[in-house]
């Protein structure tokens, strides 16, 4: 069973290999690249299912020593429930948006598939790594690929939005570097667990410096997560990007949240009394929800509405992290999965609805003219076999997205918000607690109000696109585009039906996060795997 240990590194290696292989072929062999890309992503989903299964059965986090070097000196990958969950969500979203873009969007520019694979690699690496500087490297891989992808399809709107997106993310990366190097300068280690173990024995001065470093790091991650005063770039960039790209970018804003959740609980401990920065997260998250609500109500374009739902989702999770209770964190994780799936499907759905009447289609036609597409002119007119009853299916999907994002029954969005509220009011499971702080009461109120705002905005979008436009044609939707959309929503339905087991998983994850003994236990003591001596090395 030795070989199976290496499965942890596959989510990084596989997209890397696929991406680099595709770079060797020129831009015209698009069908071949699409095949490699799809094959790699399908394999990735399969691997991730196995990783989640491994993480569920394992008592402690499993550690993978890259290059088999001993732990505090070299980089490790760590697989626990949380990282397995995030890698799983990433791979599912990647598969969905990849299938969607193969129908049409991957022709809007060059190097779509390699960039997409590198984005997936960066995401998976950031979720799996156990080392701060390595996290920076994977962050940059992810960001560099996303810079290219945001500009995919070109056009003036994307270039203007991309310029801001790149500038703010470069500045945030420098903050990240300052924080990481300051931590190294004080603690002498970049291994997250090693750092957590060294922290209690440090002098007060050193702890102050670590707190400064953590604050600088936190700003960098909050820029990524789109917290209120730092997140003004987010709606513009997500609106401008090609819809399948926005669908996968929905998970990149969760990377910042992932890191904050992991680092703050691991390094500073889940001390209930006062956790470092918890108030900033709570109130920052609340401000983000308010900003998202205002934005979602004010937005005119459907894509912009969808972008502001990303902001609301980020704000909700950040505030939940700031609430600093295992029960709330479990709810936040459930909410994270269901809202990310729903937001991605909303981006895909809006592209289908707006098709043929708004700037997206014009821009696509324009750029295809610019890049030239001589070898497949017959596909200009169609996107595969148009489905019957398109409008019925699309409106059904829209109802699904709306109920999930607004958090009303029957789908998983309601369960997510319910779990958040339940965790807030009954942190110990049984007794109703009404001794909440003002911030927590505001959080509970904003959770419900943001549902109302999303509902109003999405219903308005729905009325505009389904009922009031008489002259517009039914959009031509191919089966390849309907399948990923339907599967994402069906996954949300599955989340609803299987809410018990899923919620158990989330609770287990949240407990592990709040008492990180299982994570720390294995990391340092485990020495590298012994080298197999020459005599034993016989594979049957």
């Amino acid at each position: 069973m030795m070989g199976w240990d290496h499965l942890v590194v596959v989510p990084i290696i596989l997209p890397l290999m696929a991406g680099t292989t595709m770079l060797l072929f020129d831009g015209r062999s698009r069908a071949f690249k699409a095949f490699i890309s799809l094959a790699a992503t399908v394999a990735l989903v399969a691997v991730c299912i196995d990783l989640v299964a491994t993480a569920t059965t394992g008592r402690t986090a499993s550690v993978y020593h890259l290059g088999n070097w001993p732990a505090p000196f070299a980089i490790v990958l760590v697989l626990d429930e949380f990282s397995a969950l995030m890698v799983m969500v990433t791979s599912v979203l990647a598969l969905a948006s990849l299938i969607f873009s193969v129908a049409r969007w991957h022709r809007a520019g060059v190097h779509f598939h390699p960039l997409f694979q590198f984005l997936v690699m960066g995401l998976n690496g950031a979720f799996l790594t156990g080392d701060l500087f390595n996290l920076f490297v994977f962050f940059e891989v992810m960001l560099a690929a996303s810079y290219g992808l945001v500009l995919h399809g070109s056009g003036i709107v994307r270039i203007k939005a991309g310029l801001h997106y790149i500038a703010i993310n470069l500045a945030a990366s420098f903050l990240f570097l300052i924080g990481v190097s300051l931590i190294y300068g004080v603690a002498g280690t970049l291994n997250m667990v090693d750092l957590a173990e060294h922290l209690p024995s440090m002098s007060a001065d050193d702890r102050t410096l670590i707190a400064v470093a953590a604050a600088v790091l936190g700003v960098a991650f909050l820029v990524k997560a789109g917290m209120w005063p730092l997140g003004f770039w987010l709606p513009t960039a997500y609106t401008a990007a090609a819809p399948p790209i926005s669908a996968i970018l929905a998970i990149t804003s969760k990377v910042g949240i992932y890191v904050i959740l992991r680092l703050s609980l691991l390094v500073f401990g889940a001390d209930e009394a006062e956790r470092f920065g918890a108030d900033v997260l709570l109130y920052g998250g609340l401000a983000t929800i308010v900003f998202g609500m205002a934005g979602v109500l004010a937005a005119q374009e459907a894509m912009r509405v969808a972008s502001f739902t990303v902001v609301i989702s980020s704000g909700t999770i950040l505030a939940a992290v700031g609430a600093n209770q295992a029960a709330v964190t479990a709810g936040a994780l459930f909410y994270l999965v269901s809202s990310t799936l729903a937001i991605s499907s909303l981006f895909l759905l809006i592209e289908l609805l707006e098709r043929g009447r708004e700037f997206g289609a014009d821009m696509l036609a324009l750029t295809r003219e610019a890049f030239g597409d001589p070898e497949e002119p017959e596909e200009e007119s169609t996107v595969g076999t148009p489905l019957p009853a398109t409008m019925a299916l699309l409106s059904l999907a829209f109802i699904g997205c709306t109920t999930i994002l607004a958090g009303i029954p029957p789908l998983s969005g309601f369960l997510g918000k319910f779990a958040l509220l339940h965790g807030l009011f009954q942190p110990n499971g049984s007794t109703l607690s009404v001794t909440l702080s003002a911030g927590q009461w505001t959080f509970a109120a904003l959770l419900i109000l943001s549902s109302l705002a999303s509902l109003i905005a999405l219903v308005r979008t729905g009325i505009r696109s389904f009922w009031t436009s008489e002259e517009r044609e039914v959009p031509r939707v191919g089966i390849l585009e309907m399948v990923p959309l339907a599967s994402l929503l069906l996954l949300c339905v599955a989340l609803t039906i299987q809410a018990g087991p899923v919620m158990n998983y989330m609770e287990q994850t949240a407990r592990a996060l709040h008492s990180p003994a299982g994570y720390t236990q294995n990391k340092i003591v485990v020495t590298p795997v012994e080298h197999v001596s020459a005599g034993e090395h016989h594979d049957p």
Partner: protein, 114 residues
């Protein structure tokens, strides 16, 4: 030595931040470059400043580690330089594209009406 380095980092970072907030794309990219120099020097200084110390041990000899510089920040700064260089180059491409498409070098793609 510490003072000179600190003043240098501070000057670079301060000028960089000022340029970053300017309205011209060229100023922004120069500002980002200056900040990256400041950050790289900062990372380097996190290994403690020392003169005449090599970061690499000679093989096979157990020696006094205080006679050597910490190699990790030097490795980190190399990585940071490479990544910063690559992303700045990427930003330069977008900057040129923006200049070509919008016809102005303002960061918002249009001049402010006065």
């Amino acid at each position: 030595m510490e003072l000179i380095l600190a003043i240098g980092i501070g000057t670079l970072a301060g000028s960089g931040v000022w340029l970053l907030l300017r309205p011209r794309t060229f100023q922004v990219i120069i500002g980002l470059s200056l900040i990256s120099y400041a950050v790289n020097l900062f990372i380097f200084s996190m290994g403690r400043l020392s003169v005449d110390k090599a970061p690499i041990l000679a093989s096979g000899i157990a020696e006094d580690p205080t006679r050597y510089a910490d190699p990790v920040p030097q490795a980190l700064v190399l990585t940071a330089i490479v990544i910063g260089f690559a992303t700045t180059a990427l930003f330069l491409v977008v900057l040129l594209a923006s200049r070509g498409v919008t016809g102005t070098d303002h960061v918002d793609g249009q001049e402010r009406e006065t």
